[in-house]
Symmetry: C2
Subunit: 334 residues, 2 copies
């Protein structure tokens, strides 16, 4: 079987990297649609940094700041309509997975008339607004993937638009924007990234290239387990988590995710459990299940975390996640 | 300082991957310029595989098979003229670093009128023939870089065209084409790849992303040291060396090379020493020199090879390279 590796996004890393590379944004277009959530981009300094560069570059912008967590299909259409009304010719997404995923669908829908029933068809032209992404959580890896995952009320789950035409052109990684992130969000997003890399290692589509990225990502996240638990992350560790989440994004851009994410979407849809946490609740059991058929792979993954058994991994996750949600037998059977 | 990571080439891996992904070549154009050397592509089966796919796709082709080792600027212009005469609209390079590097310059010069004195200016438009590369040695990594390195008789060394516009669109990695490769070439090219990853680890432009690729590449190559020495590579090890060389190419696409390559070019130009071997002759001394200022980095590199001192690395290279060329004091002083 052939394996593929493709990840065309240009990644720019480091403190102050948006300002230091303002020319890259200048090349994107004349008027930006800035896609973000209600609060965090304003609080963590990322929005101000982006606007300062746009002003210096004499680029116009409009802001669509009503992306909710687990953004809906309706939100994507609304943002696309807003982009058209305002003649935006490029998109800047700032935030966690929700604004970034929504922004990809908006960039697509701003240029192509796609009916809702065809939105997940996978058939799109290459005509999409170019995108620059600024992640402000370290989990989703959306800044380097071709996935836009939207809440689909008709299907009662989350559904993906997956197409190389929606890879962002630029991803700016600046860990300063994560310094004020709550530990709940930091842990949930770190577990999301870890899940990406672990699932990527176990995917049929894993290759030597994706493995090398996945294992480094696993090593980096595991190096922060103690500090996550003790709520004592250093700046350098915040940066490690950010880079790890981007590496993990590069992995799933090529391997996709597996059963953990597929099952986690239902926990999020029906039980309103945060996406990363939902993966965390499932990850150790999944690893134990897979261990029977792929013991060497599981051993490699565990060794990256300096662990020797799935049971140890399970207890790391329990420490990080705290008390688990209960699901009744009725719900399990449904 | 900001760090950048960018590598837009789509990499396809696995035995028979060209035939299994014939649609990717079909999308490249109507008429291919196949760029290769005189012999190896014919002997190792790669040329036949490519032509079979082109025929099945009903794509035309012309062959330019006179690329020499360390290709010259003149060769690049000749290939470009041949592409224009034959109205080729895409390029397929098959071979080691020489045909691949020459093909990039041809793809550029076939579409843009650039005078020889401006060839290394770095200023080019994006109008370049699209390229698909089939490496048949595991060393250069040219299939995933934006470099075309040409022998420059005026400058009495090798000079690089370096531009994102000459990244290949596709790289097909099939280790079957390397099964008949001589051990001399296998060792020299493996050392070239190792040098890319080691130099990438020591570059000011190294990032977490490039480090993860570099370290995996170093581990893979080191896992073959014994078999290279004993001339007993398995098929799987041939594949490991191929993937390691591509990983190393992804590294230098982002970090560039350092003093080893710069010095090695002179050994190749003046003493006709093979490129990979030239790097190998310099690599351990360079690592020893750098150790004084970057001891942690050097320790990390050595640990990837399961070595604990530069001296041990030096003796591995001595085993692989055999008797060294002698350089007289006069030549050294010159």
């Amino acid at each position: 079987m052939s394996k593929l590796y493709y990840m065309p996004t240009k990644v720019i890393m480091g403190n102050g990297c948006i300002a230091a590379n303002s020319g890259l944004l200048a090349d994107m277009g004349k008027k930006a649609l800035i896609v973000t959530g209600r609060h965090s981009a304003k609080a963590n300094g990322s929005l101000v940094d982006v606007i300062a560069v746009l002003n210096a570059n004499k680029q116009e912008y409009v802001i669509f700041d009503s992306v909710m967590a687990n953004p809906t299909i309706e939100c994507a259409y609304a943002g696309a309509a807003f982009a058209r009304e305002n003649s935006a010719d490029f998109v800047i997404a700032i935030g966690g997975g929700s604004p970034m995923d929504a922004a990809k669908a908006m960039a697509l829908l701003a240029r192509q008339d796609i009916r809702e029933e065809d939105l997940f068809s996978g058939v799109y032209s290459g005509d999409v607004l170019p995108m620059a992404f600024v992640p402000t959580t370290a989990g989703t890896g959306s800044e380097v993937t071709q996935y836009s995952i939207l809440t689909n009320h008709k299907a009662e789950t989350k559904t993906s638009i997956a197409s190389p035409v929606i890879f962002p052109k630029l991803a700016f990684l600046d860990a300063r924007y994560m310094e004020g992130l709550s530990y709940t969000t930091t842990i949930n997003t770190a577990i999301d990234a870890l899940s990406h890399s672990v699932e990527g290692m176990l995917s049929n589509r894993a290759s030597t290239i994706s493995d090398s990225l996945a294992m480094e990502s696993i090593r980096l996240i595991a190096s922060c387990f103690e500090s996550l638990k003790n709520r004592s992350l250093t700046r350098e560790q915040r940066e490690s988590l950010l880079y790890a989440s981007t590496l993990a994004g590069m992995v799933i851009a090529n391997t996709g995710t597996t059963a953990v994410h597929a099952m986690g979407y239902s926990l999020t849809y029906y039980k309103d459990i945060d996406h990363g946490r939902a993966n965390g609740l499932l990850l150790a059991a999944f690893l134990g299940f897979v261990e029977k058929s792929l013991p060497d792979r599981v051993r490699t993954i565990l060794s990256g975390m300096k662990l020797s058994a799935v049971k140890e991994f399970s207890s790391v996750l329990e420490d990080l996640l705290g008390e688990k949600e209960s699901i009744s037998m009725d719900e399990k059977i449904k």
